[in-house]
């Protein structure tokens, strides 16, 4: 990884997949703001906001508020994209990667992505599939100037979501304004073999032990 964009006091390496572990809405908003404002202010950067239905709109409205600008022209010219997750987790991964590719194809030098962890959201991917999705993001970013920020609300999510999702699938963790390289991060293949296929809640009838 190489040094990347400075956001507030943080320099996000590129590419990187960052978990913002926060406690409640105020912390989430502050963390996302620090991450997105430098991109919003940089004409060579593009932004992709995503999540369950309505989430991207909410992030966009917050960003407008935080920057104090009308960002609809950026939306219109495709510098900011609003996306949505998908019930099919593979399609969700495609949506993310296709959006990033599209923004680079449009000539932007950097892409910053933000969205909340969609853990056990009704009508969405099962938690284990969501974890798979998270684990596949970083390998897909190789060689591009992209940073993905996933927000994990420790006040709302179960401990397994934080442990298996935020802690084990992200190359970096941002907590209380401090960005750290994540020593507990597991590369995707190892994560699949050692974590995902052994998740305790999976229903495995017919297993031979």
């Amino acid at each position: 990884m190489t040094p990347g964009t400075t956001a507030g006091a943080q320099t996000f390496p590129v590419p990187s997949h960052v978990a913002l572990v926060h406690n409640g809405e105020t912390e989430r908003r502050a963390g996302v703001r620090e991450f997105l404002i430098p991109a919003a202010d940089d004409p060579n950067a593009a932004i992709y906001l995503c999540g369950p239905p309505g989430e991207a709109r909410r992030l966009f409205a917050s960003l407008e508020e935080d920057t104090g600008r009308d960002l609809h022209p950026d939306l219109k010219r495709g510098r900011i994209l609003l996306g949505q997750g998908d019930r099919d987790v593979d399609q969700q991964l495609r949506n993310l990667l296709d959006a990033i590719r599209l923004l680079f194809d449009r000539g932007f030098a950097r892409v910053r992505v933000a969205g909340p962890a969609a853990w056990d959201v009704p009508g969405y991917a099962a938690p284990e599939d969501f974890l798979w999705y998270e684990s596949r993001i970083l390998p897909a970013l190789e060689g591009v100037d992209a940073v993905i920020l996933c927000t994990y609300d420790a006040a709302q999510l179960p401990a397994v979501a934080i442990q298996y999702g935020a802690v084990e699938t992200h190359s970096h963790i941002l907590i209380s304004g401090v960005l750290s390289e994540n020593a507990a991060f597991l590369p995707a293949e190892r994560y699949l073999r050692e974590r995902l296929v052994n998740l305790s809640w999976l229903n495995l009838p017919g297993a031979e032990g």
């Binding site: 296929v197 999976l202 017919g206």
Partner: protein, 209 residues
């Protein structure tokens, strides 16, 4: 005919082979020539049946002739053919598990074509898993309901590949892969992609390397 009996009678399982199993459970290994080869040659991919037999008959390669002999046994009703494709992938041993696909008949007997791929062939555990899946006791969990192509897709899912990567690897359409993945999940009675993968690992349908 159990797994261990087949294994004991194999001249050299590590190098691959073709076993004709008659309706009385007797095993004859027909491909000593092939078994002594490197098992790496690319063979034609054509529909099963007489066309496939003729395709092999036309090839001078003694390994192809051995396969043709085995196919004849199937077509004469003394065996059931077990393989659809003869894909040898030098880059990955994963396809080994699915390259040997099951088309189980009405108990008339079986031809088991066993072909390791990659340097050094498949591990003992891989082979044991294949044999158990193909000719051994019922393994449960619905693997027997999957088509050969679906097993191949399951193998690649279990290697962590997303649908686009699977499509590239198998040289088939992305939408086709999506259909296969959905079908695999449904047939295994899993609720998610990862649950299907976890079953594959848990039951030894894929190797946990």
């Amino acid at each position: 005919m159990g797994v261990h009996e087949i294994e004991r009678s194999a001249p050299d399982l590590q190098r691959g082979g073709i076993a004709v199993i008659d309706r009385h459970g007797n095993v004859t290994w027909t491909d000593e020539v092939w078994a002594s080869g490197d098992g790496q040659a690319y063979l034609p991919r054509v529909p099963i049946g007489t066309n496939l037999l003729h395709a092999y008959r036309r090839l001078p390669d003694p390994r192809a002739q051995a396969i043709a002999n085995a196919l004849s046994a199937v077509l004469e009703g003394t065996a059931t053919y077990f393989e659809i494709e003869h894909r040898a992938d030098r880059e990955s041993q994963d396809s080994f598990l699915t390259a040997v696909a099951a088309l189980r008949g009405n108990g008339a007997g079986a031809v088991l074509i066993h072909r390791p791929v990659g340097v050094g062939g498949a591990s003992y555990r891989d082979r044991q898993s294949d044999l158990r899946t193909l000719g051994g006791p019922p393994v449960g969990g619905g693997i027997d309901r999957l088509t050969p192509r679906e097993r191949e897709v399951l193998g690649l899912m279990s290697a962590g590949l997303d649908n686009r990567a699977i499509a590239l690897k198998l040289r088939i359409e992305y939408t086709t892969v999506r259909g296969h993945v959905r079908s695999v999940i449904e047939k295994l009675g899993a609720r998610s992609r990862l649950e299907a993968v976890a079953r594959a690992y848990r039951n030894g349908w894929v190797a946990n390397r």
